[in-house]
Structures are given as C-alpha cells and as structure tokens.
C-alpha cells in the first residue's frame, strides 16, 4: 500500500497527533510514533524528579531508557503507563493521551514493572485469566491466549500451581506473559532481567527480540548498559530528571572518540601499576578492570608502542593486549558524571 508522509509544523496539531503522519491512499492515518512525550514533569513537593522531558519512540523500535538510580526512569514509566499523574506535560500512547484518553491508551500497552507483581496466592493460570478479565477479553479468547502464553513460556505443565512457589525467573516469565495477554502494541519493561540467573536473562532477551520482530514496540529501562547496547535501536539517557541525550548506541559511542583505549594484562602486574602506567605518554587515564588495565588515549597506536617498551624495560610479560573503542557505558559515565574508582579508592579497597 502506498503511503504519503506529511511533516507538520503546526504546534497545536503536533500536540494532538504528533509531528509525523502517514496517509495511506485509502485515507487512513498512520502515526509514525508509538509514544510521544512532551514537557513531562513530576514534582514531589520541592523535588523535581522528572524535569520537562520530551522524546518520541517510533513504532516497532526497541527504545532503551537508561540512567543511574534516582534519575527518574521509573517515575517516567509510571507516568507513561498511567499509574502516576504528571505534574505537567503530556504523553500519548499510539495517539491516545494517557490522561484524557486513559482507557484507550492503556488498551495499547502491556507493562512489566521492576518487581514481578504477580498474585502470589493465585495459580499461574488464574493470574493470566484474571489479567484477561481486566482487559475485558471474552472468555474463550482469554483462555486460549493464557494457554498459548503458558506454553510459550514453558509453564503450562505448572499452570495449576500457586505462583508463590515459583522461582524468581518463573515469576518474571509469568509477569511478562501477563503483560502480553491483551496483544498490546507497546510493551513497557522496567529492568526486565535485573536479579535473574543467566538462563532466565537469555530467555527473556531472546523473547524481547522475537516480540519486537513481530512488530511490538518495546520501551526498555535497564541498568545493564551492555544489554541496552545489544538490544536497543535507540537509547535515551536520563540524569537528574532530564534527558541528557537520545540517539542510536553506535552514534552515541562516536560522540566520545576521546574514550578509545588500550586494554592490557600482565602475567604478574607490577606494584603501583596504575601510577606507573599513567606516566606513559599520551595516556589520559588508567582504570583497573578485573585483572586488566585500561589505558584511555586519543592515540592508541602510540600507547601500544610505549606500553610494549614499558613491559620490556621492566621485564614484564604482557598476556593480553586489545584496542577498544568507546562503549555505551563510557558514554553513560561521561553524560551522567558517574566516576569510576580513583587510584586512592582502588588502593584503599585492596589494602
């Protein structure tokens, strides 16, 4: 079907429908953005938890929402999902204002909060069926959907058991299944893999990718920067209630080229390695990462040479040498101002 894209520059219209519309030739309006946030603000007394943030999430993308603890991630997600009323600003979900058309907006979304909020005294089956009732799904539809999801999550055999006996990973899966009951267009996931074992993490990440491939828009908040880097089409970094940046992970990494580094490991590290390595030419900073040292520089090739010379002159054997580009974590650290441990702190910890 052919579509015409219109870019609208009229603020009053933008407030209602967003700034991009696709008009298909049969006359139906198709919106580009699944979520539109404009000037969203939340105050708790004098504390400004979320400070006039604005952003859009495109349909079908995995959008990562990163930030340190207390940055305003969960408050934002609570406002977007209707469990908290914003102090100012608007948010639309698939074109429906979450305040003025809350029922229609909520029909478009499934939510997986940071805590698996399942009904522990109900069985796995009853949890899903009750969720279907909250969405007013017809009986036959909710039961077939509950069966489909329990089978998909490998929990059908345990459907008659009360959820309070389930492991944390199983409760998480039930919680995600509940969020998928109504075949929503958008899935909000607040720290979906936090505190889970490796197997559950891999299952959930794989599931998120599959759901996204099926067309579901994913809004993901996470502390796990590597997870965001691997999974998200775009990420927003929020700090002190404000959006610090929004872009694709790769573009964000390119904004901090100064954070190139050389990673080395010695067979037997010398004493005061951090101090000694920092003295090498063109090294701007040195951090210890496990048993490795990371030497930040604008000029990795010069640092490679000087590191080799340093090892030779001190009779040290290098067992690992890697050159690394900036990671999303580096961008996050740069934008949020979180600092890695200083040399003194590092020594204090080991000493």
């Amino acid at each position: 079907m052919k579509r015409i894209k219109l870019i609208i520059h009229e603020p009053a219209i933008n407030k209602i429908v967003g700034n991009e519309l696709n008009l298909s030739l049969d006359g139906k309006m198709q919106m580009e953005n699944a979520i539109e946030v404009s000037g969203l603000t939340k105050k708790y007394g004098d504390l400004l938890a979320v400070d006039h943030i604005s952003f859009q999430v495109k349909k079908g993308e995995i959008f990562g929402f990163l930030g340190p603890n207390g940055a305003g991630k969960t408050t934002t997600i609570r406002m977007l999902t209707g469990s908290s009323i914003p102090t100012e600003g608007t948010a639309t979900i698939m074109g429906y204002d979450i305040q003025r058309k809350s029922v229609a907006a909520k029909e478009q979304m499934g939510i997986v909060p940071d805590v698996s909020n399942v009904y522990k005294d109900l069985t796995a089956w009853d949890n899903l069926v009750f969720t279907g009732k909250l969405y007013d799904m017809p009986k036959s539809f909710r039961e077939s959907r509950a069966e489909e999801l329990l089978k998909m999550f490998g929990l059908y055999e345990r459907r008659k058991e009360k959820v309070k006996g389930f492991s944390r990973g199983m409760k998480r899966r039930i919680c995600i299944a509940m969020a998928l009951m109504n075949r929503s267009s958008i899935l909000f996931l607040d720290e979906p893999t936090s505190g889970l074992d490796v197997q559950s993490v891999l299952i959930i990440r794989d599931l998120i990718r599959k759901l996204n491939q099926q067309g579901l828009t994913i809004f993901l908040t996470t502390h796990n920067i590597e997870e965001a880097s691997q999974m998200c089409d775009r990420v927003a970094i929020i700090n002190h209630g404000k959006i610090a940046t929004i872009d694709t992970p790769e573009k964000l990494k390119r904004t901090v080229e100064s954070l190139q580094s050389v990673e080395i490991a010695f067979e037997a590290p010398p004493q005061n390695a951090l101090r000694e390595l920092r003295k090498l030419p063109k090294v701007t900073e040195v951090t210890k990462v496990g048993d490795k040292f990371r030497l930040f520089t604008y000029d990795p090739s010069s640092v490679l040479t000087s590191t080799w010379d340093y090892a030779q002159s001190n009779n040290l054997k290098l067992i690992t040498v890697n050159t690394l580009g900036p990671s999303l974590e580096d961008v996050f650290v740069r934008l949020t101002g979180i600092k890695p441990a200083t040399e003194e702190e590092e020594q204090g910890r080991t000493g």
């Binding site: 469990s83 809350s102 399942v118 969405y135 007013d136």
Partner: protein
Amino acid sequence: MKVEHSSHISREIRVAWAITVKDMRTYYTQPPSIMFGIIFPFALFLSFSIGRNLPLATQIPVLISQTLFFASSSIGPVVIPIERADQTFDRFLTSPVSLLAILMGKTLGGIIYGAGISVIPVLVGIVFFGSQIVNFGALIACFALSSLAFSALGIMFASIPGQTVGQVMMPLNFVRIPLLFISGVFTPVSELPFWMQVVSMLSPLTHTVELARYSSGGETFFGPFVNIAVLTFYAAIFLFLGIRFHIMNQRKE
C-alpha cells in the same frame, strides 16, 4: 453513541466484578481479614455483653450492627495495603478501566464480606435465642446501606499510602472504636442525654443499630427513614471522598 456508552458501563461492571471475585478468593481468608472482620466484633460484643444480665435476644441487633461495621470496613484496609506492597495495585491503575470501577470492585468485596458474615448472628439469633425478624425491608436496608457505607469507609481509609495493614487499620480503629460509644450500641439513643443524642445522630453506626433493632421489633429513636437517609448520605460521601483521596495519591506517587 448510546450503545457505546452502555457498553462502556457494562465493561466497567464486568471488570469491577472480576476484581471483587479475585479479592474474595485471595483475601477473605487472610489472617488480618479474619482478625479485624470477624474475631474483633465478636470479642467486643462478648466483652460488653457478658455479665450485664441482658437477654441475648435483645443483644442480637447489636452484634449484627457491630459485625456489619467491622467486617465491611476491614476488607479495603486489608486488601489495598497488601496490594500496594506487592505492587499489584498498580496492575489495576495501568489496566484499561477507570479508578471508579476499581474502587467499586474493592467496595463490593467489603459489602459481600460484611453482609455475608453478618447473616450468621441473624441466624444464630433466630435459631438459638428466639429472635424474630418482623420487618424484612428494614433488615435488607440495614444490610445493604450499612455494608455499602462501611465498606466505602474502609476504602476511603485505604487511600492512606501505607504498605502494611497496620498503617491503615490503626487510624481506622482510631475512628471505629470511639464510634461504638456514641452510637447507641451499649445504651439506646433514647436513654442518652440530649447532647449525646445530637452527636449520635452524626454517627452512621447509630443508624445501623437503629435499623437492626427496628427490623426485630424494637424501637428506632430517629425513625427508619432518617436512618436510611443518613446511611445513604454517608455511603455517598465515603465513596466520593475515597475516590478523591485515591486520585490525590496518584498525583503524589
């Protein structure tokens, strides 16, 4: 448009009922529900009745009233803080249903619990102590309006943003227990001094006790229509304030 409106209302009713049924299955047998809803009114009744040398048949309306009062008003303060702690209350707030329907579902849970348990003293009175129900209309009005008003009272107190039952139950008991002494429970309103009669008229429990006495052939000081009107007024006020307070919470949270 009219069809859409009626389908919206019927949808809200279905979801409210689903919430009620879930609460009944999940919370009716929880220890705090049994403690504050059943044991508490019966223990209070026994502690004030034993040794007073009054015929038990005349005390049955008091037991009915106390059970309606405590059982109906206990469900909201048990259910909502537990759901807040488990974050399952957020499930309702993020589901496509109005806050009114959510609170109606919760209120109905209190009504069924309070009215259901209060049937027991009625039956015990009739079977074991020769009580008679001479006015079924008054008894039904007493059950329906009192359980509605007291359940709504519990929901209103459950807007206190606590995550334990005690955080809500304590302030609620701070109101519930003094009401016992001004509501003609231990002394009929007609025997109270004038200023106490004025105060007792303001208590919703007075009108529950009066209707319960009236239904079993006793006298009502204010008259059944005043009793019904006052209970209706309180039911509406508690429902209205409950919704307003829960909206205020959403603004604060």
